[in-house]
C-alpha cells in the first residue's frame, strides 16, 4: 500500500493538481456530464424545440420536431428522451408520445432508427439522434417499416399516403385507426 501511495504523490507533484475529495456531496455523474456537453453542442435550427419539464434533470426531456417541408410539414411531433446512467454506453431511449401515422414509428411510439439500437456507439451524440429523427419526417422509409400498413401505402400509392398523412395529422382515421391531432 505504501508503494502505491508514494507513486501517487510523485504524480501529484508532477501534475501539480489541486484536487480534493468532497465529503458526502454527490458528484456529477459521467452520464450527466456527457449530456451537458451534448446539449451544448446541439444544432437545433428552427424546426426543433426542446423542453425540460424539470430543468435540473437534463437526462429527461422532450423534443418537438416541426418539419417545415415534406409530407409532414405543419405537424408538431413530440419525442420523449430518457437517458439512463449507463449513457453513452447505452443509447438514449426515445419514444414518440403521440399516436402518429408513419412507416417508421409504430402506434406505441417505438421508433425504428438504426442509431437508437443496432448501430449505437458511445462516440455518437444526442445531435446525431436528433438529426436522425428529423430525417425520418423528411424521408419516411418504406423499405424497413415498423408500421407495415403505412409503409405499404407509401410504397404502392404515394399520393394516397400523402393524403393519409394529412388526415392523420388532423386527428382523423386511417385504416380504422384514430390518430392524434398534431397540427396545433
Amino acid at each position: 500500500m505504501l508503494k502505491i501511495w508514494s507513486m501517487k504523490q510523485q504524480q501529484q507533484q508532477a501534475e501539480n493538481a489541486e484536487g480534493g475529495a468532497g465529503k458526502k456531496k454527490k458528484k456529477v455523474t459521467a452520464a450527466q456530464l456527457r449530456v451537458q456537453r451534448d446539449l451544448q453542442e446541439l444544432t437545433l435550427g428552427t424546426t426543433m424545440k426542446m423542453t425540460f419539464p424539470n430543468p435540473d434533470d437534463i437526462l429527461n426531456f422532450v423534443l418537438v420536431i416541426s418539419p417545415d417541408e415534406g409530407m409532414y410539414k405543419g405537424g408538431h411531433f413530440n419525442f420523449s428522451f430518457n437517458v439512463n446512467q449507463n449513457f453513452p454506453h447505452d443509447p438514449p431511449k426515445v419514444k414518440c408520445t403521440q399516436k402518429i401515422y408513419h412507416p417508421n414509428i409504430d402506434l406505441e411510439g417505438n421508433v425504428c432508427l438504426n442509431i437508437l439500437r443496432e448501430d449505437w456507439k458511445p462516440v455518437l451524440n444526442l445531435n446525431a439522434v436528433i438529426v436522425g429523427l428529423q430525417f425520418l419526417f423528411l424521408e419516411p422509409n418504406a423499405s424497413d417499416p415498423l408500421n407495415k400498413e403505412a409503409a405499404e401505402d407509401l410504397r404502392t400509392n404515394r399520393e394516397g399516403f400523402k393524403r393519409n398523412v394529412r388526415s392523420a395529422m388532423q386527428g382523423g382515421m386511417v385504416r380504422g385507426v384514430k390518430f392524434e391531432d398534431v397540427l396545433r
Binding site: F135, L138, E139, N141, A142, S143, R155
Partner: protein, 557 residues
Amino acid sequence: MTEAFPAALVGPSSKERKYDRQLRLWAASGQQALEEARVLLVNSDGPWGEQSTGVSGVVGVETLKNLVLPGIGGFTIVDPALVTEPDLGVNFFLEEESLGKSRAQETCRLLRELNPDVEGNSESKPITELLQDPNFLPQFKLVLVSGPVKRSTLSSLSSAAKALGIPVLYTRSVGFYSTFSLQLPAAFPIVETHPDPESTQDLRLLNPWPELAASLAGISNLETMDDHQHGHVPYILLLLHYLEKWKETHDGNLPSNYKEKIAFRELVRSGARTANPEGGEENYDEAVAAVLKSLNPFTLRSSLREIFEMDECNTLTSNSADFWLIASAIRDFYTKHRVLPLPGSLPDMKAQSADYVSLQNIYKSKAREDLAEVIETVRGLEAKLSPRPGQIADKDIEVFCKNAAHIKVIHGRDLPLLDGDTHTLKAIHNALGDPESLISTFLGFNILDSIITEIQTGALNQEALESSLAWEAGVDRVIQSLTSEVSATIDEETKQRILRTTQELQRMQGGDLHNVSALTGGLVAQEALKVITRQYVPLDNTCVFDGIRSRSEMYRL
C-alpha cells in the same frame, strides 16, 4: 421463480433450470456425458517424514467442487492423510471438527453437500494398494492427482491409466505458482470443438450445387425490380448473380486473386441503388463486406488432412471407435466430391422473411442430402466390420458432418518427466530460450517432485524443503539432464531464473496458498470438463501459472 410453471406449457424441468447456465455451453449431450462420468481424485500419497503428508490437496478438492456443482456422475477421493491444523487454513471443505479425522472422508462429506445429484465416496487406503484390485481403476473416466507424489506412485498410476485409455491430470500448487499436465490417449478425437461461428461458414458460392444455382432464376429481373424488392435480395444471391456476370467477361473464370476480388467487389458495389434517402442498400453493403472472406475456394485444412491420413482412419477394425468410422466415411465423401458435407447453416442477412427461409431451406436440404450419403457409407462400413457393439446413431453422424471442418485429434503424450523422452527435454530447452517464459517454474516443480520423492523414500529428511543446498542441487541436476540429453548449454542467466523460482517454492516449504490452488482448481476443472464432455479443446499438455505476474503459459512437453 418459485411459483409453479403454467400447466398449459411444457416448461423446463427443475434439472434444466438448475443447469440452465451451463447447458447453454455444452447442451444436453455434454451434460449427459458429465452425468455418466466418475472421476478419481488421488489427493495424497503417504507420509512426508513425520507428517502424514505435505500435500494439502486443495487443488484436487477445488477441482472436484467445480465438477460436483455442474453435476458430474460421481467421484472417489483417495487420501490416506488425517486432517491437520494447516489443512484448516487452506481447505474450505474441512471444518474445525474435522481435525484428526480422515481427510478423504471429511472432504467427501462436505463436497457431497454441494449437489444431491452427485454420488461420492472416499478411501483412506493409499492408491498403490487400491490399484491391486483390477476392477478399481476401470470405473473412472478421469484421474486427478494432487502432487507432488512419490515418483513410483505416479508412474504406476499413470501407466495403469494409460493402459485403460483413461486421461490423467497431474497438478501441483505451491505459493503463488502452480502447474498441471494432462495425459491423454495417443489419439484423442473431438468432434464438437466449438469454433468461432464466423469461421464455420461454408456457403459454396464459388461452386454452387444445382439447386442453389437455380435459385438465381428468382432474381433474373434484378435490374427491373422495384426499390423495395431490390433492397431485400439476400446478399448470397447477389454474389452469385454478380459472379455469373463476372464470368461472362472473364472467359468463364471466377475472381481468383486479391486484385480480381477487389475488382469484383467494385462490380458488386456498382450495382447498388444510391438514389434513395439512405444513399445505398444494406443488402449490397453486406455483399460487398462478404467478398473477401466468402469467395475462397474450398481447401481442406491441414489438421483434417492429417486425420484422414492417420492409420486409425485407414485401417478400420471391428473395434475402431465410432469417430474413425465416421471420419473414414467423410474422407470418402471428400475424395469423391472434393468438399466436405455441407454444414447447412446460413448467417442472418437482410432479406424478406420468406426469401430468407427458402434460401435457408436450400442449404438445409443440401446438408441433409450430404448427410444421407455419409450415413450410407457408415452403414456400409459397419456391415463390413461387423460384429460391432452397436449401430452408430444418425444423430452422431449429423453432429460430425456439421463440425467436419473443425474436428480435432489430439496426440496425447505421457505426463512430462525430465528423464522421459528427448522431445520433452528439447521442448523445455527451447522454451528456456525466452527470458519471459514460465518454463523455469515448471522446472522448479520438477525439483520439488524429486525432493519429495527422496523425503518419502527416506533419502532426505523433511528439512530438505527448507535447505537452499537441496534446492540448488536440484537445479544443478535439472541442468545436467537438460544439457546432457540435448547437448546444449544453459547460460548463467537462465540458471538464475530457475534458482529464483526455487527460492519462491522454498519460501513456502512446499505449502500452498488457497487463492492459487483455487484458481488452479478452476483451470484443472475446465480441462476435466472438456475431456469428459469431449467438447471444446483440452490442454496439450502442460500449463504453468505464475500468480506473481498473473500469467499462464502452455507447453507441449
